[in-house]
């Protein structure tokens, strides 16, 4: 395997500037690829994870994202930073994956419904082993993810980039190719929608 001396090579390529990196990738230079991956893997995987909902899928998806970045780098206009452009690709790919997952989810629900109505065994769902201490935390985590995934697409993108990726409104505007007031409005509406969903759940929870 050619990447086994990765740490040494990373140190070697630490000094790469953005134009050097872009030029290196366009030349299909290994050091440039290594620098690209070590520099942006956390950003890509974490952002993908907030959309697709689990680290395993996010890591698989990140491979596609990096290939996409390399293949389409010649279209990068340099009007924004490379990081912004990478965020844009990551968000688009992640949203597409979520749509695929949703379609698959609908098909699976239909299939299980079919099995139920035809009296076939549905089989036991795999459940992660969660201790009772973690149970409440896990429940809240799922509630939060469900609330975020219910947000309209643009609100979800803006909220995730702001809340989880600490992107400024200006950066989000560049990533989403929209104006600053639109970003402000999206994040404000996302907060209100989340609050509505969560507060409703908490009040229902108290009643039961």
């Amino acid at each position: 395997m050619r990447w086994k001396h990765l740490p040494a090579l990373i140190a070697l390529s630490n000094s790469m500037t953005e134009p050097e990196l872009i030029e290196g990738i366009l030349r299909r230079d290994r050091h440039a690829f290594q620098y690209l991956v070590t520099r942006y893997q956390k950003q890509v995987i974490k952002t993908a994870c907030y959309f697709v909902g689990n680290m395993e899928d996010a890591e698989d998806l990140s491979q596609e994202i990096f290939l996409d970045i390399i293949h389409s780098l010649h279209t990068f206009k340099k009007s924004s930073s490379l990081s912004t452009w990478i965020y844009r690709i990551t968000v688009n790919k992640s949203i597409n994956m979520v749509k695929k997952q949703q379609r698959r989810g609908i098909m699976m629900r239909l299939e299980s419904l079919f099995r139920l109505t035809t009296g076939q065994e549905t089989g036991k769902e795999m459940e992660p082993s969660v201790s009772s201490d973690d149970f409440e935390q896990q429940e809240k985590r799922e509630l939060l993810h469900a609330a975020i995934s219910r947000l309209p697409e643009n609100q979800r993108i803006a909220f995730i980039l702001c809340k989880y990726e600490d992107q400024t409104y200006k950066q989000i505007a560049e990533i989403m190719k929209i104006g600053l007031p639109a970003v402000e409005s999206l994040i404000h509406r996302a907060r209100l929608n989340l609050q509505k969903h969560l507060t409703y759940h908490f009040s229902e929870y108290k009643k039961n």
């Binding site: 990765l6 956390k42 995987i45 680290m55 609050q195 108290k206």
Partner: protein, 149 residues
């Protein structure tokens, strides 16, 4: 600030993104209202969860896997992959099997068209069958049956 006003600001309050005046009013209300302080504690748990998720890093081997994928994409010679080979070989194998079947079928059909009397008209045939099938003794009626055909 009353309970409804607090509820409509609770998320921003837990995130500390409220304007200073509103924040102070909310802070004052929550210190005197049990119901709102309960609601706030729920939001604080969510804020902690979000913070944990923000700090979670990816698998340390993820980078290696990405680089391996890049290596396969850009540096490995692109011959026919096993999948591609299968796509070529499968139809060839099926065609071969079909052709063999047709050839065997037509050959045996030709054999069947040989007149029956030619096959079993003489006692030589019986001798032949006896020696080849290791049948030691044909019954006389069998012999007659074959001979009468």
């Amino acid at each position: 600030m009353d309970c409804n006003q607090f509820k409509s600001n609770v998320f921003a309050f837990s995130e500390k993104t409220l304007e200073k005046d509103t924040y102070q009013a909310a802070e004052h209300h929550v210190s005197t209202c049990i119901s709102c302080s309960r609601l706030l504690s729920e939001y604080k748990v969510l804020a902690d969860i979000m913070e944990q998720e923000k700090n979670a890093g990816p698998n340390p081997f993820a980078a290696t896997r990405i680089l391996q994928r890049i290596e396969n994409e850009f540096y490995k010679p692109k011959g026919l992959t096993s999948k591609a080979w299968m796509r070529v070989l499968q139809p060839v194998a099926i065609t071969f099997a079909l052709m063999t079947g047709i050839l065997i079928g037509s050959y045996t059909a030709r054999q069947d068209q040989t007149p029956v009397n030619k096959m079993a008209s003489t006692s030589e045939n019986i001798e032949f069958l006896r020696s080849n099938l290791f049948i030691s003794d044909f019954a006389d009626e069998d012999k007659l049956l074959v001979l009468n055909k």
